[in-house]
Symmetry: C2
Subunit: 614 residues, 2 copies
């Protein structure tokens, strides 16, 4: 049972509240989280050392003047790793090696911090004269935000205050500098501090942090960042106030971190106007600017959202960090509103456009997550390669994946005054809404989800299970052998007096399906995609008959889809196969589609999610 | 009768030789060239003054230290305008105002030149210590190349040597610095000097310039530019030697200027291996990386060629300068090989992806030339806007358009030992292959091309007229009333004894047609385009029935295409209309398509070339 992010205050204005405790004990996500713990997080300190991030901290502590790395925000990689390691420590308090690494890095951060609380090695070491002088590119509040998030995680996971003390000193310094009547009236070129300050408020219960978060949210969109300069105000999220925006735009991660922070703000303040804006923006994103995989931010240029329905498969940018930010925001919206559609997108994103970002080995990464690689693809290397890479020059994604996987149990369930809501399906134990349930499932390979109540109030209590939007058919078996009668959009709800041991079993129909795209998506007109349950599948060259011309493959819309589980393939995946065609030929050719989340884990080759219709 | 570019030496190894003299006297291109002369070129000096280019030259002359503009290559705008103005002066030697402007700028350049011949104000004024230190971004040889081209044009147009003297001084300086055993063994991050030096060789007949051009072509592709740095060797065209390359790649303008220079080199040296490489690269470009409009360079990221068949309509970059470079290269390949396919692409590019780059007013420009603008398009302004702009921060395209239009007559005809070849169709007079013809045509609105021989040798002589690849049917009437019998691929040839006044009349069938895309182009699968003759048409929102949902329009493949000439629309254009549909409805809706070259000249709105099939 581990603590997690978004620990709402008692008077928060949300429909649902996150689980008080949650753990994943087996199945798909447990496997991925084990690799995350044993490989990704475990290797973190060595990766940060090799990339120079720790040298920067030592230089700041020792008064050195050599900065390593290409970006002013190098420190944030350390902060994000510390956040990931902290959530992990909550799961594994006995992991002494990890605890020692965490303690070392916290001590290093403390030693690097200036007496006035300032902490960003790029400016300390290389450009002390430019402190707070370049809000567009400096990323100082961004780094402060990640430091705060790490500190909050460390406090919740360990109960200790060392890192929180560092973060609060920095936050106090920020509060002394920023404000309408202070030295700087401005916002950061990269949102992140907003959500962090709300979490700091939640953790410390000091109102000043909520107020400061509100200041940063409200001051944005008023041209403080001189949007005349390239790449322009929309890149920095300074083109329009959140309250007035009609669609998501600009740099995807910046946009979504900001909206997550604004949602945190609305959750704690009950600001109904802000909530309406957020609902509008989320609908625009999910309806017009999101890939089938849940990936967002289609443009390489500016790592940005494109226009509505501008969703190219080949040049999909779909940064891993943007998928993470989308999950973080959607989950906050799910809590705020109680609506299942937000968790539908969380599921789609987690199982596809997010998970593709990390290799099965936990040690190889994708920064961009395209939906098509041609046979003629020429790898230019670098961060934006479609080949997995051990680490990036701009290493934002790997520790971001680590912190989401480490905190994943907290995206699974929520509670309210009526009962418990199961949003995502993983074997584990979840405590919320005054009760506790044990979930057993082979999801996403199997569709059966057995929810056994371990603790419930004596009175009537409601157990709710999300019925995914992709699911056209399901059955449910109540403890008395009958089927639950009451459903509301997206939810199966069963209200009754629960006895410990009572089990609600839901069977989601996982029949593989062919999906046609929205006809407004120009880039994939005339194509179909294969999906099964929450998983988007893709053709990889390595799975097709040798010698077939991959880029000429087509699939008839009515094709029969055959399903088989392959325990020895890609760590165990269910594969979908169908009779396709080679363009210009009537002969059938067997096509094999693996889950997109597992692509690019074998020898490099072509891949496609959207297959031209025969 | 005006002189032009590519004045081959007598011993050049080309199949064809450019026209000795050429002029366009009426019709479509005459109108465009008149606007080019009266508006675009005439306003050039004021635009260059306003943008600071001339202030930079004065600063260099006066020892100032204030540089204006964002780019080290600002001078090249001046050089390209001087080249355009020189070609224009050849047409209008009586234009005293233009001649005075030219003389002033030449004097200014001469006064800005260093005693050692160096001339680039960015380094002279702002960074004298960095001269020749940053070959990747410095653009010094690039600027030298444009200076040389301007000087060659000025010499050919006026017979005067002032600008040539400046250029030769700079070239001598370059030759003293660059070479295997000299101070710098390297190449420029932006090709351009190569083609310029071959032209300088042609103009001066000094072999050293051809050798230096050869050096710059051959040294490229050997990693001299430290391709580890971003954006990488392929951007700078240093990833592979031209001789070994298998496809066009990287920054499109850089790639195509280089290949034009390499073609010039092959033309003057007879290098058969180089020619084979160039033919291979052109086939790769034309077959897999060229838009229907002739536009090339599909990616915003790096202004680069994408993969084969990566040709998105909405995010087509298709820089105007890249279209110009494509025309320049293809024309050189046409002369080298004598094959009509090169002039087919010249025609497609000139009438569509090039001409879209300049507004009908001659005073508004497009840097990028997309094939689709959605209703939801939000203009972010700046150089890459899909709205016409009076000038650009990076003003490479406008003077480039000016110089191509000013020299356009020289892309129309060629000659060889047998006779004259007419590659492009415009009313005018062309002298080549020992004869002279007068052409009368209403092309591209009408398909009749009447070629009247004004002078021909007394012996048998061959008049050749290109039959465009798009043309499925044509008739030809020989002077004796019969039809010419002999054709070779792409050419109608008539060999006979010509008398002055003999007319060959060719009628190309201009029936409007629906074009389906290559099925390998993922981005426009399931769409059709409307073409008529050499013109690609497009739907613009402003021409459609008010209130129709533009992005929902579709067109049946078998639709009847109606054609009418609208003399008062867009300066006089032929319009194609057809019955389309609104997605989800069976009702017909009349669609009206104007030539793509005339788009974006009225109120802003959506546009598309590729229309989804009903």
């Amino acid at each position: 049972m581990s603590p997690g992010p978004i620990r709402l205050t008692g008077h928060a204005y949300t429909t649902l509240r996150p689980a008080g405790a949650a753990c994943i004990t087996g199945g798909f996500w447990a496997d991925r989280r084990r690799t995350n713990a044993e490989v990704s997080i475990a290797q973190g300190p060595a990766k940060l050392e090799a990339a120079g991030n720790l040298a920067n901290l030592r230089a700041a502590a020792d008064g050195g003047n050599t900065f390593t790395g290409d970006y002013p925000f190098q420190d944030s990689d350390v902060h994000k790793w510390l956040e990931a390691a902290s959530w992990q420590l909550a799961d594994q308090p006995e992991n002494a090696e990890l605890a020692a690494h965490v303690d070392q890095l916290i001590a290093l951060l403390a030693s690097a911090q200036e007496p006035d609380g300032y902490l960003q090695t790029y400016f300390q070491v290389a450009h002390p004269e430019k402190r707070w002088q370049d809000l567009r590119w400096g990323h100082e509040l961004y780094c402060a935000g990640h430091l705060i998030q790490a500190a909050v995680a460390h406090r919740r996971a360990t109960g200790r205050d060392e890192l929180l003390a560092v973060a609060v000193r920095f936050a106090v310094h920020v509060d002394s500098v920023f404000g309408p009547d202070k030295a700087v009236d401005g916002v950061c070129g990269h949102p992140e501090i907003e959500t962090a300050l709300v979490e700091l408020y939640r953790e410390t219960r000091e109102r000043r942090w909520l107020d400061l978060a509100g200041y940063f949210v409200e001051r944005r969109g008023h041209g403080l960042l001189d949007g005349e300069r390239r790449p322009g105000a929309v890149y920095w999220q300074d083109h329009v106030p959140v309250r007035e925006a009609t669609t998501v735009a600009g740099h995807a991660v910046r946009q979504l971190y900001l909206l997550a922070g604004a949602t945190d703000l609305a959750a704690e303040t009950g600001d109904a106007d802000l909530r309406v804006s957020l609902e509008r923006l989320w609908a625009a994103m999910a309806g017009t600017k999101t890939y089938l995989t849940g990936g967002v931010g289609s443009r390489y240029e500016g790592e940005a959202f494109g226009e509505p329905y501008e969703l190219p498969a080949d040049r999909a940018y779909a940064e891993t960090c943007a998928a993470i930010a989308s999950v973080q925001w959607s989950w906050r919206m799910a809590l705020l509103t109680g609506e299942a559609k937000y968790s539908d997108l969380v599921e789609r994103t987690l199982f596809n456009g997010f998970l593709s970002g990390v290799g099965l080995d936990g040690d190889s990464w994708l920064y961009v997550n395209p939906l098509q690689i041609r046979e003629s693809y020429e790898d230019s290397g670098g961060d934006k390669s479609a080949r997995r890479t051990p680490w990036f020059r701009c290493a934002c994604c790997p520790p971001n994946v680590m912190r989401l996987l480490a905190s994943l149990p907290h995206y699974m369930a929520s509670g309210d005054g009526e009962g418990l809501q199961l949003h995502q399906f993983a074997t584990g134990v979840f405590e919320a809404g005054g009760g506790r349930v044990r979930v057993a499932t082979d999801y996403p390979w199997g569709g059966r989800i057995a929810v056994t109540v371990e603790e419930a109030p004596g009175a009537e209590w409601t157990l709710s299970v999300r019925i995914p939007a992709w699911c056209e058919d399901f059955t449910a078996t109540a403890p008395d052998g009958g089927a639950p009668a009451e459903t509301v959009p997206g939810w199966l709800r069963l209200r009754r007096r629960w006895q410990p041991g009572d089990t609600l079993t839901v069977d989601l129909d996982l029949t593989a399906r062919l999906t046609r795209p929205d006809p407004r998506v120009d880039a994939v007109r005339g194509c179909v995609a294969i999906e099964r349950g929450p998983l988007v599948h893709c053709l990889e060259g390595v799975d097709q008959r040798p010698g077939v011309p991959f880029d000429e493959l087509t699939l008839p819309y009515g094709a029969h889809l055959a399903v088989r589980h392959e325990p020895d393939l890609l760590g165990g995946v269910t594969v979908v196969s169908a009779d396709g065609r080679i363009r210009g030929s009537a002969d059938a050719v067997r096509l094999t589609a693996v889950p997109y989340c597992a692509w690019a884990n074998r020898r490099p080759g072509p891949m496609r999610v959207w297959i031209p219709e025969s």
